[in-house]
């Protein structure tokens, strides 16, 4: 008992909260499942009746949980790809090809001291990373990942996206202000100036697209781009896509516009006084932002989850029930038969291969075959599997491009950054808007 009491006394206030809330949440979840199992039908009826709420809770949870592995993956990609571009090998010690290194980084950040400077406004200081991170996560809610796989289908989705994305400025300013450090404050102001400046061309560059699409719902925009890849909006709005890409790079604070966190220039900018997991949230938010910006670019200009060409519809109506008891035999015997089938050639061709080695090879190959078969079946039979594959493929291509740019381009100066936003991007995006609007007016008046 004393051990537990002493351990409890050593915890900080957030630690006490976490150690209370997490078991409580777990217990509540278990209780909920148990209640559903015991009382059954009425509870399910209630859940079905309130489907939007259930859907909302599930979507928020899934997206919140999803951001962490996404950030890990992008951090690993960044380390590895930049290393390969520098003719180095990069992370290779933890996990296969060093793929667990970003997880180790995450754990390291968790174990570091969570430091609050004397004189800091501790409430604002604590909430700033939360605001920045939540701004990223919340903007992920409206992105359609696959047919039917999205948090909301807001009819103001794009506006919501920019509004919530703009919240991160508040977080940056909070971090800079509350740190009680003039360098943090300067860094925060600089970051805010950059993000606000690039928000304008970013928003203006998609107004032309909104005129074309006639809607702000991201799901509708994706649906309008279905068919061949020539239907994607990038071919109708190439200038808009270019401006969006540049402005989004600056929005996500990526090279060559990564002045807010330029490690070599300003002392970590607004995050100077942050350490431990609070810094980790800023860090994660940056990488989640990379994903979000890529996903939004794919959604708006590259057809979202649409395949570049319509696949021929393969009728896939295997009635599993018609096998009756035979299904059991098929499920039980097919792994064995496949294993033997794949093992046989290795055993027969070379006398040097022992029977157990051949069996191992056969087992691995059979598993690969079954997984490939299931994958193909899922791709053909479930449209959301195909959708999410295409969406993630396109998105991670752009994530790769962002990393690639970081491996190539030097950082711009702050005055160049501002000049570029106000003197080039803003006029060009206005030009794009006017030309699009004029073209729409001319074409529609010709049609009517």
């Amino acid at each position: 008992m004393t051990v537990i009491a002493r351990g409890w006394d050593r915890l900080t206030l957030p630690g006490k909260l976490v150690f209370t809330l997490v078991p409580l949440l777990l217990a509540l979840t278990v209780a909920l499942v148990a209640v559903i199992v015991v009382f059954g039908q009425p509870i399910i009826d209630i859940l079905v009746a309130n489907l939007p709420i259930v859907r909302f809770v599930v979507a928020v949870t899934v997206i919140l949980v999803m951001t962490v592995p996404t950030a890990f993956l992008i951090i690993y990609m960044e380390m590895k790809i930049i290393a390969l571009m520098n003719l180095r090998i990069g992370p290779d010690r933890v996990g296969p090809f060093g793929s667990l290194l970003s997880t180790v980084h995450g754990l390291k950040v968790l174990m570091k001291e969570d430091f609050t400077p004397t004189g800091a406004d501790s409430l604002v200081f604590t909430w700033a990373p939360v605001v920045v991170y939540l701004a990223s996560v919340m903007s992920l809610l409206v992105i359609p990942f696959a047919p039917g796989l999205f948090g909301f289908d807001l009819n103001l989705g794009l506006l919501y996206f920019f509004a919530v994305g703009g919240l991160s400025v508040v977080g940056l300013l909070m971090a800079g202000w509350s740190s009680y450090n003039k360098y943090s404050l300067l860094g925060g102001l600089r970051a805010a100036a950059q993000v606000v400046s690039y928000e304008i061309p970013l928003t203006l560059s998609v107004v032309g697209l909104m005129l074309l699409a006639g809607t702000m719902s991201l799901n509708q925009i994706v649906l309008q781009q279905s068919g061949w890849f020539t239907d994607w909006y990038i071919f109708q709005q190439p200038l808009g896509a270019l401006i969006f890409f540049i402005a989004a790079t600056a929005e996500a604070n990526r090279t060559p516009f990564d002045l807010t966190e330029a490690d070599s220039e300003i002392v970590a900018g607004f995050a100077t006084e942050y350490s431990g997991m609070r810094f980790g949230f800023f860090f994660f938010a940056e990488y989640v932002n990379v994903f979000i910006v890529s996903a939004l670019f794919v959604t708006l200009f590259l057809g979202g989850w649409n395949a570049p060409f319509p696949l021929p519809a393969v009728p896939l109506d295997i009635d599993l029930a018609s096998f009756n008891v035979g299904l059991l035999f098929i499920a039980g015997l097919s792994p064995v038969i496949l294993t033997l089938l794949f093992a046989a050639p290795f055993y027969l061709i070379s006398s040097r291969v022992k029977w157990w080695q051949a069996l191992i090879i056969g087992f691995v190959l059979a598993n690969l075959f079954i997984v490939a078969l299931l994958g193909a079946w899922a791709y053909i039979g479930l449209d959301w599997v195909a959708g999410i594959l295409w969406f993630m493929g396109k998105t991670y291509f752009f994530v790769f491009t962002f990393v690639w740019m970081r491996g190539t381009l030097p950082r711009v100066r702050i005055d160049q950054l501002m000049d570029f936003a106000w003197k080039w991007l803003l006029p060009v995006s206005l030009l794009n808007l006017f030309v699009t609007a004029a073209a729409i007016v001319v074409i529609r008046s010709g049609q009517s």
Partner: protein
């Protein structure tokens, strides 16, 4: 073409993409050790034999073989008579310090110590002209040089080496082979007597050492038959 905006960015991106697929230069150090380059000679170090005497006999072979001419050395010749040197004259004196000679386990012929003195090389040039700068007639050149100066000054030998193209080590070898050629003025040749006169204690010690070593070889070694 270079004025096209954004072309530099495209070029840079293409470069990094090419690098992405090129073979990597990293050596996995603790597991893999790269081969030593064949011109690598390591740190220069003079070795001692089992009696604590320098193994270096000042033969200049190392200096001659040095591919980047970084070896610069001086010392006493194998018979303990003359100062020889390889390298720039300004580093000469330091190598002949008495303590260095003493450390090397050789006798220290003090009167022989003469700082490097530039000599009038006009005479050498005249001789070389006479013998047509021919390294094949080295013995005649050296004899003529000794006739002109009374001995073979280091500066003159270096001049001969420089002009004829023969290696200093070979000229030195030629000169030290013949007993009638000498590297010091005749007055300084009688070194032992000079040492005995100036430092009698050391001369006594050396004599005793010599007689102790004479029949029985080095200490710790079985007596020779």
């Amino acid at each position: 073409v270079s004025f096209v905006p954004g072309l530099g960015i495209v070029k840079g991106m293409a470069l990094t993409l090419r690098r992405f697929f090129e073979p990597k230069v990293t050596v996995m150090y603790p597991e893999v050790r790269r081969d030593v380059p064949h011109k690598f000679r390591g740190r220069l170090q003079l070795l001692y034999d089992e009696w604590g005497t320098l193994k270096c006999e000042t033969c200049f072979q190392c200096a001659q073989a040095c591919p980047i001419e970084c070896i610069d050395m001086g010392g006493i010749d194998t018979r303990g008579r003359y100062h020889v040197h390889w390298g720039a004259p300004e580093t000469y004196g330091e190598r002949r310090e008495e303590s260095a000679l003493r450390r090397s386990g050789r006798t220290v012929p003090d009167p022989a110590y003469r700082p490097f003195q530039p000599v009038d090389l006009g005479e050498v040039d005249r001789i070389l002209e006479e013998f047509d700068h021919d390294p094949g007639r080295m013995l005649e050149i050296l004899e003529a040089t000794q006739a002109a100066y009374g001995y073979l000054p280091v500066a003159a030998l270096k001049r001969i080496s420089h002009v004829t193209g023969a290696w200093y080590a070979m000229i030195y070898g030629t000169a030290s082979y013949y007993a009638h050629l000498r590297f010091e003025p005749p007055a300084a040749t009688d070194q032992a007597a000079e040492v005995a006169r100036m430092r009698p204690a050391e001369a006594t010690y050396l004599t005793a050492l010599g007689s102790a070593l004479d029949g029985s070889g080095r200490p710790g070694e079985p007596a020779r038959a």
